[in-house]
């Protein structure tokens, strides 16, 4: 199997232009004869399916949801980056490229990132044309904000629901193709295996979740856009159904999985409140523009708060430790996500956490309220306003800016964040790792492509805010429609594949046996309980800080847990019906294998970079220590067998246009 990046020759800035100008094309009459399967209907999948349908391919599109519109892209809050430079503040394609590579701690492929920055501008145009109601200025032009610690305002947004609006745009484009018959939509269908014929991806086995029936679907190529695997931690900001199964099934068929250990832990989520908790809720990063993060200076105060004897309001200013402002005076509360998260962990590990579990810090808006209140009073011409008026005026400003988020916080916690400081803690949010793909977004299995969060390609070791939506849509609207043509132009003489052929029948039988084996265990523990235990191991040993001893232990514990799972899991019902527990079980079974690979990858990477922090590799000040000379590679893992070590393939990263620097936010 081939393993090369297939990056086109030439200058970085002209690679994509040249590629598009010289790639082989597929004529319209041939496009009609070619079948394409798209799995997943998030930003990347819906955009790809819609665009390929528009181009004239026969598209079959699959989602396990009841509607394409429910994909988890919908939950993205903040915004989408694009190098439009509408604000005239010096942005450019190169700057967006540079920021993304630097933000990713120099662990991404230059050419892919540059292409991402190039097409970012087209995404905004496309979304506007589809009717996405982006925020606007009074003059009617598009508004931007600064996001994620960069120095230009390049983030386009639709209140706090940018992901929803962009996904609905893509969903509508997809719906249009469905109504024209160029895309056939399969709702409530979950991909459970990949079918290969002569080494190429030629179809999938999908389970109709309503009836339990297994279906064989053939095509000339298969595109996965199945999202991230953050739920390997059980508790994350991902949706309950987000899973790695489609990606993991292709790994079992020979695809490489790259950089699984790169995990983005988002610093501002609502802390866990109890054992029953099913997921964690993100509070947008934008809150750190006005909120100040702190814990009490003394353990005594922290304990009193944890026990409910004191509240944040009882701690005087001088007894508070605004630890981000103290440690990073230049960026303060606006340091990137990985840095902010780790700092919160350190504060809590030192015993100063402020929620009963010990894992929480304050995010305080009182300074912002005072600051806004005074400026409002001044602009209203109030002389000597009293404290109450200032607070009222300031609260109103905060409400205008963050009202929705505050409301959501209050619904979840039952506490009024206008009065009490918010309580937050980091949570798993995004996974930068994923299936290894080349410049064409093609995996090492010919004819198998992977888009969006499901691939590893653009964010390196850490993703910047507002870049996930950009990547998903770039891949779906503007990259895959070209690169898939390179593959399909060689397939125009390939007749349609017979879904009753031996490879399909064998794959279906494999899936059916696998599901039946799970059902036959008939043990005593629920699927959920195994998932929860896996999550605890992952969070404890593969979370915000990792070390060799812990990772070795984690690998062993995951193996033991997996053995226990296959002995004692209980799944009610049968294959031939709507069976949510069986769906979950198949997904958790895959997480139990991915979790191990995760630990193996984290063990291998003896450096700290982005979303991977190894305690052994830190500076004297406790900051991440990258080791470019030895670890500037993509770790692409080949799964061998459940009981053996996976094989590591290294793709060395070359940085021709960027000088590698240490990130500093001091």
């Amino acid at each position: 199997m081939g393993f090369e990046g297939k990056v086109p020759q030439g200058d970085l800035a002209t690679k994509w232009v040249n590629y598009r100008g010289s790639m082989p094309l597929v004529a319209p009459n041939n496009k009609r004869r070619l079948d394409v399967i798209v799995v997943g209907t998030g930003l990347a999948g819906a955009a790809a399916a819609a665009t390929l349908g528009e181009l004239g391919y026969n598209v079959k599109c699959f989602t396990f949801h009841d509607s394409p519109r429910r994909a988890h892209s919908i939950a993205a809050q903040g915004g989408i980056n694009a190098a439009k430079n509408y604000q005239n503040d010096g942005d450019s394609v190169y700057r967006l490229f540079y920021d993304t590579v630097k933000g990713g701690d120099y662990r991404s492929r230059e050419a892919n990132v540059h292409r991402l920055a190039e097409v970012s501008v087209e995404i905004i145009d496309q979304a506007v044309a589809q009717g996405v109601p982006f925020a606007r200025e009074y003059g009617g032009l598009l508004a931007n904000r600064s996001f994620g610690g960069v120095q230009v305002s390049r983030t386009f947004y639709a209140r706090g629901q940018t992901g929803q609006q962009l996904l609905i745009g893509a969903y509508q484009a997809l719906s249009r193709q469905i109504s024209r018959g160029s895309v056939k939509m399969y709702n409530r269908h979950e991909m459970l295996d990949l079918v290969k014929i002569d080494g190429k991806a030629r179809g999938i086995i999908a389970r109709n979740l309503l009836t339990g029936e297994l279906e064989r679907h053939a095509a000339h190529c298969v595109i996965l856009a199945t999202g991230g695997y953050g739920n390997v931690f059980y508790l994350s900001t991902n949706a309950m159904g987000s899973n790695v199964s489609a990606g993991w099934r292709v790994v079992k068929r020979g695809a490489y999985f790259a950089n699984p250990c790169y995990t983005q832990i988002h610093p501002t989520c609502i802390p866990q409140s109890g054992e029953y908790q099913s997921k964690l809720t993100l509070m947008s990063e934008s809150l750190r523009n006005d909120g100040r993060v702190w814990v009490p200076k003394t353990k005594e105060d922290a304990i009193a708060i944890r026990e409910g004897k004191k509240t944040g309001l009882d701690i005087p200013e001088e007894a508070r430790d605004y630890y981000l402002e103290r440690r990073y005076p230049a960026f303060g509360n606006l340091v990137p996500r990985d840095v902010a998260s780790r700092a919160a962990k350190i504060a809590c590990d030192e015993g100063n956490g402020i929620v009963p579990t010990g894992k929480g810090v304050f995010l305080d808006f009182s300074s912002a309220v005072q600051r806004y209140g005074k400026s409002q009073a001044f602009s209203k011409g109030l002389k000597n306003p009293d404290a109450k008026t200032i607070t009222e005026l300031g609260t109103k400003v905060v409400e205008e800016k963050y009202g929705n988020l505050f409301e959501m916080y209050e619904k979840i916690t039952g506490e009024n964040p206008y009065v009490m400081p918010m309580k937050i803690y980091p949570a798993v949010h995004y996974t930068m790792g994923g299936l290894w793909v080349d410049y064409h977004l093609e995996t090492n299995i010919p004819g198998l492509f992977c888009l969006g969060e499901a691939n590893f390609s653009d964010h390196g070791a850490n993703r910047l805010g507002a870049s996930a939506l950009m990547q998903g849509l770039a891949d779906g609207y503007f990259v895959i429609p070209y690169t898939v043509g390179t593959f399909l132009s060689k397939e125009i003489r390939t007749p349609k594949f017979d879904p009753d052929g031996p490879e399909f029948m064998q794959a279906e039988a494999d899936v059916s046996n696998r599901l039946q084996n799970l059902l036959d265990i008939q043990g005593n523990q629920s699927v959920e309980s195994f998932h929860r235990r896996l999550g605890k191991i992952m969070w404890e040993y593969c979370g915000m800080a990792r070390n060799e001893e812990g990772l070795i232990k984690a690998r062993k514990m995951i193996r033991e847990l997996r053995e226990e799972f296959y002995k004692d899991v209980f799944i009610p019902g049968t294959q031939e019906e709507f069976n949510s527990e069986l769906e979950k079980a198949a997904r958790v079974a895959d997480f139990l294998e991915l979790g191990e690979l995760f630990a193996v990858d984290a063990l291998d990477r003896k450096e700290s970079c982005g979303g991977h922090f190894r305690e052994e590799y830190q500076t004297e000040e406790g900051e991440a220590r990258r080791r470019d000379d030895e670890y500037a590679y993509v770790a692409a893992w080949e799964w061998t067998d459940t009981d053996q070590d996976p094989t590591l393939h290294k793709e060395e990263l070359e940085f021709k246009d960027i000088e590698l620097k240490t990130r500093s936010y001091k």
Partner: protein
């Protein structure tokens, strides 16, 4: 301190063909749980007893995906205004309460199992015209279409619909007018959507009728229960546009 003993009466229905009924369960919950987490606890309890767990739809659990589809004490998504079931927390209830949980009811949303219903009718309404006909790559520069802030904001208000179907579930007529009108309002207000505005409203209403939803009696229960608090002004707008398009469109069908 925060524990609560609850009696749950939950709709159980094996599949589309079988008849369902309300089953009673006792459960110990905490006031900090979300409603769905309380149901998770119920399911864990049922699995421990080797019984079939309750089927219910849920996904993002953060007020946006629109998957949850249950009626709690007669109200879609429960008693709290502007909330989905996942954001409803048990502190909205009292210790000792009896809570009745039923699936969304409408002929056009047939029950699949327990609290899971089929809402694909909504997808078909969008497919009939809930889009702007623009292919990828055809777009002009984003700023070449200025849209005044208020219009963009009004379109956005309509576009926040999460397609959960609470409007249909709340409506005594099972009418889908709020859903359909939210999409018509979103697209027809924007300059990009104006070119197809007449045909869009005609096609979408026609598809909505075909799906077997009831008619709108302006009960406004939809607005009262909408988790995104979408206004019935959108329904008036759709009525206006539909009547106008029917009378003035050049096309006969």
């Amino acid at each position: 301190m925060s524990d609560m003993n609850l009696t749950l009466k939950v709709w159980r229905q094996k599949n589309n063909q079988s008849k369902g009924s309300l089953e009673t369960y006792k459960i110990l919950a905490s006031e900090h749980m979300s409603f769905l987490e309380m149901l998770d606890v119920l399911n864990e309890q049922l699995i421990q007893e080797k019984k079939e767990p309750l089927a219910f739809e849920h996904d993002c659990r953060e007020w946006i995906c629109g998957a949850c589809s249950m009626v709690i004490n007669g109200q879609p998504h429960g008693p709290q205004r502007g909330t989905t079931t996942c954001q409803l927390h048990m502190r909205q209830f009292k210790d000792g309460d009896t809570i009745v949980v039923e699936p969304f009811r409408a002929k056009a949303f047939p029950v699949i199992k327990d609290l899971v219903v089929d809402r694909s009718a909504f997808d078909r309404i969008i497919q009939s015209g809930g889009f702007i006909s623009v292919n990828t790559g055809q777009a002009v520069d984003g700023n070449s279409i200025p849209i005044d802030k208020d219009t963009a904001s009004a379109a956005f208000d309509a576009a926040t619909c999460i397609g959960c179907g609470a409007c249909v579930a709340a409506c005594p007529n099972a009418s889908a007018m709020l859903f359909t009108s939210a999409k018509v309002s979103h697209l027809n207000q924007l300059p990009q959507g104006k070119l197809e505005a007449k045909q869009r409203v005609l096609n979408m209403v026609s598809q909505m009728d075909e799906e077997g939803f009831g008619l709108c009696s302006n009960v406004t229960a939809c607005e009262a229960e909408c988790p995104k608090e979408i206004s019935v002004e959108n329904i008036a707008r759709m009525n206006r546009e539909y009547i106008g398009a029917s009378l003035t469109s050049d096309k006969f069908v």
